[in-house]
Symmetry: C2
């Protein structure tokens, strides 16, 4: 399979100018959202996947901005032929509320005062981020997301989606994440915030027209960066190698490569991130706790999405037991859930680095299609009493080859095809009754697509009406529609 890039992409923005009430009760007068999309929505708008970014990510998940040499942050898994296959899906990624990459956040101008918010920006939550994403999805005319996926803070958003809007999400992918922040995670976030607040240039958040709190933000990033790596990966990457010297300097200049690397990471981060956003986003992460009365079972009881949970063996910031707690709760609720622990030395960052394992796992999960995912929902039907000519006219008008025949209460009683019509002409048959098939093979919305495909191939038929539990026609799947997808099914 050729794995390509989506090529040149552009960030779009949309502004919702009505006030937005946040979880805290505070109100934002308006919200601008920066987002990117890759691939096309199908006519049914049923192939949209929302990608949620991690703490310091942005809407630029894949492809290249004009003139850039580096692609978006999850290029590894987004593009033609990749797990998030842009030939098949419409991928959407937006910058989170509270961020600094185009979506409204503390560095935005408060339209009511004409001044930058700074720390007057209200404290936001993961649920608030998701609410803004939901407004964007509504705006794009999408009523159901094929999937919501994300790693780390992105995984929190994906889980939150399945809880906040259970009817809108068919699949959820949660990678290297958790259903609640642990005290150790909170502790690391708090020392990061403390580093920013301790920088005199932070100036209580009012630094936008003066010196930037660079050293505080760099320090926060350095702390965070250690937690994203693993002990093993640091051994492999740096060992105890010195920086351009063969003996210790015996002073406080940089001796070790690992120190130099961390400072470099800190300095680069300062160029691209807002210190106040770092405060707000880490706070949202700390507040994240889906448990209801201490229970994840209560939290997930209304969840409808199929769930894939992926942990990383060497991730000590979001250890795998946190993923297994999610899986355990979902399994106890008899929800559909898959779990996999990636074997990787990369630590938390593995979800951004382990291309092979991530593409395999995500691709497989997204290929777990049901009939419901792929059926044509607006299927024309005819009553038994119709004439052959009437049926033929409807076929031409609707440009279909198959017409399910239904009783007065909508139950399936037979099917007629364009081939049957041709036969009636050849054999001079006069009534629908003489050409229709009464023993109709059907599919059900919930069954795995591969089963339906097998039934079609075995019986050499090119369409299956999809019926509900009362044998009412709810859709149809056709060979034509499936042909391109079957290769991806197990």
């Amino acid at each position: 399979m050729i794995r390509g890039s989506v090529g040149t992409v552009h960030t779009q923005v949309h502004t919702f100018s009505s006030p937005l009430m946040l979880e805290s009760g505070a109100v934002l007068p308006s919200v601008t959202v920066a987002y990117e999309t890759y691939g096309s929505l199908n006519p049914e708008r049923s192939n949209a996947i929302l990608i949620c970014h991690a703490l310091t990510g942005d809407a630029h998940a894949a492809g290249y901005h004009e003139g850039d040499e580096k692609p978006g942050w999850w290029e590894m898994v987004i593009g033609p032929g990749k797990a998030f296959d842009t030939d098949r899906f419409c991928i959407i990624c937006s910058n989170v509320l509270g961020g600094c990459k185009g979506t409204t956040g503390p560095s935005s101008v408060n339209p009511e005062t004409g001044k930058v918010y700074g720390v007057s920006f209200p404290v936001i939550t993961i649920a608030d981020m998701v609410m803004v994403q939901k407004k964007l999805i509504d705006h794009l005319g999408i009523t159901n997301l094929f999937a919501v996926a994300g790693g780390s803070m992105g995984g929190m958003q994906a889980l939150q989606w399945s809880v906040s809007y259970p009817d809108m999400v068919s699949r959820v992918v949660v990678i290297a994440s958790t259903a609640y922040s642990t005290p150790q995670q909170i502790a690391f976030n708090e020392v990061g915030r403390c580093a920013i607040r301790s920088d005199p240039s932070w100036n209580n958040g009012q630094y936008y027209d003066q010196e930037y709190p660079a050293s505080g933000l760099a320090l926060a990033r350095m702390i965070g960066h250690i937690t994203y790596l693993s002990d093993e990966s640091m051994h492999q990457k740096f060992g105890r190698d010195l920086l351009g010297k063969s003996v210790y300097s015996y002073d406080f200049t940089t001796d070790f490569q690992v120190e130099s690397y961390l400072h470099h990471q800190g300095d680069r981060f300062v160029e691209r991130f807002d210190a106040n956003s770092y405060l707000y986003l880490t706070k949202a992460v700390d507040y994240f706790d889906l448990t209801v009365n201490g229970s994840l079972i209560d939290a997930f009881k209304d969840m409808k999405a199929k769930c894939m949970v992926i942990a990383v063996s060497s991730d000590w910031l979001y250890p795998s037991y946190l993923s297994r707690e999610i899986v355990s709760a979902l399994a106890q609720l008899d929800k559909t859930v898959e779990y996999c622990e990636i074997r990787s030395n990369y630590g938390h960052d593995a979800f951004l680095l382990e291309s092979g394992q991530m593409n395999y796992l995500l691709g497989r999960f997204l290929s777990h299609l049901t009939v419901s995912d792929l059926m044509i929902r607006s299927v024309p039907t005819v009553r038994e009493t119709v004439t052959i000519k009437g049926a033929a006219a409807l076929m031409i008008a609707e440009a279909v080859n198959h017409l399910p025949i239904v009783s007065s209460d909508g139950r399936l009683v037979g099917i007629v095809t364009s081939w049957d019509i041709s036969r009636s002409v050849a054999q001079d048959v006069k009534t629908l009754e003489d050409i229709m098939t009464r023993t109709v093979l059907t599919a059900t919305p919930g069954e795995h697509i591969s089963k339906a495909v097998n039934r079609m191939q075995k019986n050499r038929i090119s369409a299956l009406p999809v019926v509900d539990e009362e044998n009412r026609v709810v859709g149809i799947i056709t060979a034509e529609r499936l042909s391109r997808l079957v290769v991806r099914c197990e």
Copy 2:
């Protein structure tokens, strides 16, 4: 067994006024060492144990300073009846070079300039710390340490002792430590130093007569403190409990108990520690690397001490593989080494908290006594040619009950006891030959003391001459001397 405290103790200081050449080549004009001792040196000065403290510890390892309510930092294992039994051992603990608790460090006055060193203090290493401890041990008239023990940075010093002064150390106990600092450990230390240097009050280390870099040092401590705890222990201790509130504050005040705890730890630390010392000591830890050409086997080849290595199951800062690497190298060299992994949720700090397991393991290791540890080395002997009267006179003069009888080249040929002398008087025997025992039971220096004790008890004798491989008398063990110790032997 009653486990008591050593009670009120005092820190002593000693100044070495001759210049000290450091590993870097820099020279300190003089060094003052602060130290404490608990228990008494035996006449042979063979029962001294040196305790080495961790990064922010001090010489006050046990007992109480006048008026204090909190005891020394390792009270848990030091005292009468505890593992470091002050009824049996003389425990010595000194503040490390570069520290700020009485031993010369960056906050000391440079005698050559009359000003505080600050960052003009030379960069020191773990080997330098150990060299200063060695000067103290020399000063105390001790030529051999029964043991050197420590956790974390203290474990590094203990290992360094066994490598730098192999003939002076009989036992080494290395707890929650490593033979070299890893890149992750260096990374955490560097962000801690960065926090201090980023504090404007640090002022390039010249803050002693002005504002203290409190926020930088507190932040460094907060970072460090997270690494000393474990994910599990933080769950148990704090969970997601809020601080005196039932709902989120939705602002940047302290929401969670874990945040409050960390700030408290940071603030308390600032009251008792010098920011520059933190820079120097973490640098010494970073530089620590005993490997020789990348090999621990080469590093330990001349080591003579018996070694006990203890790791903590939940210690992620000094993970157990680092301890096992030490054990593996020593085992390959056929050195005597024991390894144990404490099962604890406390993380790195377990060596300061797991009282039961630590007392058990340390006590057992320190009870692994050999004949050499307990024999009387200055043992009077007589030649076969001596008269009974001459032998009796020597017994009285030396206040002993047993006199080994040796040949002209010092080899053991028999033994005579005060009881034999008494018999000669009763039976009117005239020559030593008639009363001496020629078939003498002996012990060897390396054998376990319990074996020698068993031999004495089985044969109802009260002393065993200790002989070397050539049957030369090198000491004697007596029932009297052993009686108090036997109960501790396995």
